[in-house]
């Protein structure tokens, strides 16, 4: 029994770190551009599909780790220019536009990749014995890669000029421009980074989930819940909330339906919103 819970915790951790990676991408796009990107989950899905395709074409899964985030970055920049920029200053239109993008991405994948869920081979093909179970070593690696990517993202944000500029533009766009910061390019760059993070999440997740065109639908709500529970704009809070939620959903769905697990997440979110409207990790009073 405790063994099972140990495995569930580990699974939840790996999945939670992947969700955290995606949710951070969602959060910086929202925080900087006030753009609610409904298509963010589908970017994750595209990442997984591209990972599958990479294996299909080259036979090598690891190439996807380099290739797909680069494609994601370029795609993010294009989306910012082509989809987001035209509806800037209109939150309602931005939701419609990104919803449209979401449909295009899903249907595009359905038309080319097909509707059948596909599974990738375990890229490591190694198991380790943990809690008396044979545990796929790749899941541990997935958790590690996601954690490293998250740490890298925070280092980038804190320690580089570009990261400082991203934070500055977010706090006061006009003054940042007056200080010589190219805010428009920062917006594009931020969207690129956010998309790259979602697609990297897709690559990491591809071997431990079934790859199909609806993959993003399940992930997006969880990311939004993580962003809200973590506190809007609180990036470390978002990451922590994502891990907590995934672990919790993993534990609950072992004993009940996955739908029940999602309901629990929503209940938790509602309670957090009632008790701590600024997020679980915000100081109670400011």
């Amino acid at each position: 029994m405790y063994d099972l819970i140990g495995v569930l915790l580990l699974n939840g951790l790996a999945w939670g770190l992947i969700i955290a990676l995606i949710a951070l991408g969602l959060s910086i796009i929202f925080g900087l551009l006030d753009f609610i990107n409904i298509a963010h989950g589908d970017l994750f899905m595209i990442g997984a599909v591209l990972a599958w395709t990479t294996v299909d074409v080259t036979g090598n899964f690891w190439i996807a780790f380099v290739l797909v985030p680069l494609i994601g970055f370029a795609a993010g920049c294009l989306i910012e220019r082509g989809v987001m920029r035209p509806v800037e200053n209109s939150p309602a239109l931005s939701i419609v536009a990104s919803f449209g993008l979401s449909l295009i991405l899903q249907e595009g994948v359905r038309a080319t990749f097909g509707t059948t869920p596909k599974r990738l081979m375990d890229p490591l093909g190694v198991t380790v014995e943990l809690f008396g179970f044979q545990y796929e070593a790749y899941r541990l690696l997935a958790a590690l890669i996601a954690a490293l990517a998250i740490a890298g993202f925070f280092l980038f944000l804190r320690r580089t000029k570009l990261g400082t500029w991203m934070r500055a533009v977010r706090q006061d766009r006009e003054m940042a421009i007056a200080m010589g910061v190219p805010a428009d390019r920062i917006f594009m760059f931020t969207f690129g980074i956010g998309a790259a993070m979602a697609m990297l999440g897709g690559v990491v997740a591809a071997p431990i989930t079934s790859v199909e065109f609806r993959l993003g639908l399940d992930v997006l709500p969880l990311c939004f819940i993580a962003v809200i529970i973590g506190g809007l704009g609180n990036l470390p809070g978002t990451a922590a909330a994502a891990v907590l939620l995934a672990v919790m959903e993993g534990l609950v769905s072992a004993f009940a339906e996955p739908t029940t697990a999602r309901i629990v997440s929503l209940v938790v979110m509602s309670v957090v919103l009632l008790v701590r409207p600024n997020g679980l990790f915000a100081p109670a009073r400011r």
């Binding site: 934070r167 003054m175 007056a178």
Partner: protein, 233 residues
């Protein structure tokens, strides 16, 4: 150094600047006075190309600013110390200070700045939002100077600063001006403006309604009373 011709600007439908004309010669300190809401801040924003609705001509350092990307204005040597200081509260003092530089210099590279603003040196890792009002104003001036500007627009730099520190800021602006940096100063405090500036403009309802040497204002109570509605004590 700076020439503004027929500058117009709108907030939505309201026509806030109605043809502002002014100029600042190299090395000169010029004051821009006027009652609340006449458009002084808007003039400065329009000069910095931060008002998308602005029309008219702005020439800086011999080259037109019309059509220049807003973020390229500061690197040309035109800095602003904005009203209300507008620091980035969640960035550290050091991050605020070096924001406009493409690359962060080592702390020694900033020794000139620290010599002028010693209090900042001790607080480099502190969040700017936690500084006192006076320290924030010092940082707002310092982050502008770090970029080696040829001209600085000061928008009410002594607003909300305790009287003891006002004299210090006044002195600093004069010293900055003495190093050859041109100054355009918006002030509510007429005495401060007269003391710092060579020439004064007064604005009313989006237009310049008076121009003259600072001395003239000092000696002519009528102008002050008529345009600013206050007596010069």
């Amino acid at each position: 150094m700076l020439k503004v011709e027929d500058l117009h600007a709108y907030y939505g439908k309201s026509h806030v600047l109605r043809g502002v004309n002014l100029h600042v010669k190299p090395g000169e300190a010029v004051g821009l006075l006027g009652r609340n809401g006449v458009g002084k801040t808007t003039t400065m924003k329009a000069i910095m190309r931060l008002m998308p609705s602005a029309s008219g001509h702005v020439t800086f350092d011999g080259a037109p600013l019309d059509g220049v990307d807003p973020f390229r204005v500061a690197p040309l040597g035109l800095g602003i110390v904005p009203q209300g200081r507008r620091l980035f509260p969640k960035l550290t003092v050091y991050e605020n200070l070096c924001l406009g530089l493409a690359k962060d210099p080592p702390a020694e590279g900033l020794s000139d700045i620290f010599a002028r603003f010693p209090r900042l040196k001790e607080r480099l890792t502190q969040l700017a939002g936690t500084l006192s009002g006076g320290e924030q104003q010092q940082l707002a001036i310092a982050r502008c100077l770090v970029m080696n500007p040829k001209m600085i627009l000061f928008d009410e730099p002594t607003e909300g600063i305790m009287p003891k520190l006002v004299a210090q800021i006044r002195r600093q602006i004069r010293e900055i001006n003495k190093t050859g940096i041109s100054v355009l100063l918006v002030e509510q405090n007429i005495k401060t403006a007269i003391e710092i500036c060579d020439r004064i403009y007064i604005m009313e309802k989006g237009e310049i309604c008076f121009e003259g040497p600072a001395e003239a204002l000092k000696n002519d109570q009528n102008i002050v009373h008529r345009y600013l509605g206050v007596a010069l004590r």
